[in-house]
């Protein structure tokens, strides 16, 4: 399989400089990026197989002595390429706040309780159909210092690899209908509404486990599509 990664596919990514999200002002390149062809160095990428992941790493409710507090949920979906073909055997890592909106991180000073039974970290490898599944706790919203009374919508951070180092994606998964969406400059840094909604999971009644947990579906589409004869001129 020979994939190409047109940079045009990045058109709905956030701009590096998005002043509404204050930290971008001093942390975004000010000079134009240099356009370069993809070489073997960009078209290859690391492979992390099942040896990188331990049994149970995808269940964030079983890392402590007892179960964490909060609303137990299933988060699952498929990792796909731009032709919507499954990306199998790829590493998916997540990290998130606990049910109270607090991270296990020394810098997080939000005065909400830590949960001794919740690390907020998980990982898994997609199966042959590109499918992944986590059991976790619905993360809480939390305040941050971007502007007065700023709150982040509930979200789970995702890190995904794909077929090459240019398909690498770090993103955040949101929950449907969050009332904080209109006020969050990070969510709204994706200005195209359709593209923005691709970061929002859907409530998935069918995958809900009765008497146990609700489910949310989050499909992730990475860069990369089949080369066409026209692409031979591109690089």
């Amino acid at each position: 399989m020979s994939l190409v990664y047109p940079t045009k596919s990045l058109e709905n990514f956030p701009r590096h400089l998005t002043p509404g999200y204050r930290s971008t002002v001093k942390r975004s390149p000010s000079k134009p990026l240099i356009i370069m062809p993809h070489t073997l160095s960009e078209l290859t990428g690391p492979v992390y197989g099942h040896d990188a992941v331990q049994e149970g790493d995808n269940d964030l409710t079983k890392q402590g002595k007892s179960e964490p507090l909060g609303e137990r949920i299933i988060v699952h979906g498929q990792v796909l390429d731009e032709d919507r073909r499954p990306v199998p055997d790829t590493l998916v890592e997540i990290w998130q706040a606990n049910a109270c909106g607090r991270y296990v991180h020394v810098v997080d000073q939000h005065p909400a309780p830590l949960d001794p039974n919740f690390t907020g970290a998980g990982r898994t490898i997609t199966d042959k159909n590109g499918y992944y599944r986590f059991v976790t706790i619905k993360p809480g919203a939390y305040p941050w210092g971007n502007h007065p009374n700023a709150w982040r919508p509930n979200h789970i951070h995702f890190s995904v690899f794909g077929h090459s180092f240019v398909s690498r994606l770090v993103t955040q998964m949101y929950f449907p209908g969050d009332y904080l969406f209109p006020f969050d400059p990070i969510f709204n840094s994706v200005t195209d509404e359709k593209a923005r909604m691709r970061m929002v999971s859907t409530f998935d009644l069918e995958s809900t486990i009765p008497d146990w947990a609700l489910a949310f579906r989050f499909d992730i589409v990475l860069r990369g599509r089949e080369a066409t004869p026209l692409d031979n001129d591109e690089h």
């Binding site: 047109p6 940079t7 596919s9 990045l10 058109e11 709905n12 990514f13 956030p14 701009r15 590096h16 999200y21 204050r22 971008t24 002002v25 001093k26 942390r27 975004s28 390149p29 000010s30 990026l33 240099i34 356009i35 370069m36 062809p37 993809h38 070489t39 073997l40 160095s41 960009e42 078209l43 290859t44 990428g45 492979v47 992941v53 331990q54 731009e82 990290w95 991270y103 991180h105 020394v106 810098v107 690390t119 970290a121 990982r123 890190s159 180092f165 240019v166 690498r168 770090v170 993103t171 955040q172 990070i186 994706v190 593209a195 923005r196 691709r198 970061m199 499909d219 589409v221 690089h235």
Partner: protein, 205 residues
């Protein structure tokens, strides 16, 4: 039209999930409980080639160190082969993966111990000088930025097809320089200026 999932910032709190070890400055216990997937030491006992240390500071537009940054590096082995199924040549016959992750510490300093990569094929079969692809993620970066690290002591830099795309007065930002030894390894210094007069060259890939 592409339907890809947009990028979002890695945020300030990735450490316990993505870089749980080696964060002694940040966590009072020296480390987070989570087992790391990928670390900052790429050297495997069976990998041939020159062992080196790469170290540098990541600096923002105010000249202040970025202390909540994650760097990932991707590189070939000492013979220029990538441990990837997309490299159709003979795969490396060692455990060397060529991939590493380092968080920055309180002073914005990252560190990698690795093997100096060999030259790899470039566009039109023209070789590329030994280099490492560097990807930077941070709070305040809504999407990752890519740069490349080349080595000052490689004559092949002069004919590298990617360096040739960079205006001459900015090429120096992509060159790591040997500044002695640390922990028994030759130390290459490579600072990354995210913004400002010495801004590192970033690539749109």
């Amino acid at each position: 039209m592409s339907e890809i999932t947009p990028s979002q910032t890695v945020g300030p709190f990735f450490a316990y999930g993505l870089t749980p070890k080696g964060r002694a400055h940040w966590d009072p216990n020296g480390t987070y409980a989570w087992k790391e997937t990928v670390g900052d030491n790429l050297i495997t006992p069976d990998a041939a080639g020159q062992k080196i240390r790469i170290q540098g500071q990541v600096i923002d537009g105010d000249g202040a160190p970025i202390n909540d940054c994650m760097l990932e590096i991707w590189q070939a082995d000492s013979q220029g082969r990538y441990a990837s199924p997309q490299d159709k040549r003979a795969l490396p016959n060692t455990q060397f993966k060529g991939f590493g992750r380092s968080a920055t510490d309180k002073n914005g300093v990252y560190n990698f111990d690795t093997i100096k990569p060999g030259a790899v094929p470039g566009p039109g079969g023209k070789p590329q000088a030994p280099h490492i692809v560097v990807c930077i993620y941070s709070r305040g970066m809504l999407r990752q930025v890519y740069t490349r690290l080349y080595f000052a002591d490689e004559a092949a830099n002069a004919s590298d097809p990617i360096l040739a795309l960079v205006p001459e007065d900015r090429r120096g930002t992509l060159i790591a320089r040997k500044t002695g030894e640390q922990n028994g390894l030759p130390l290459y210094r490579f600072n990354i200026y995210v913004q400002g007069p010495n801004e590192t060259v970033f690539f749109e890939i």
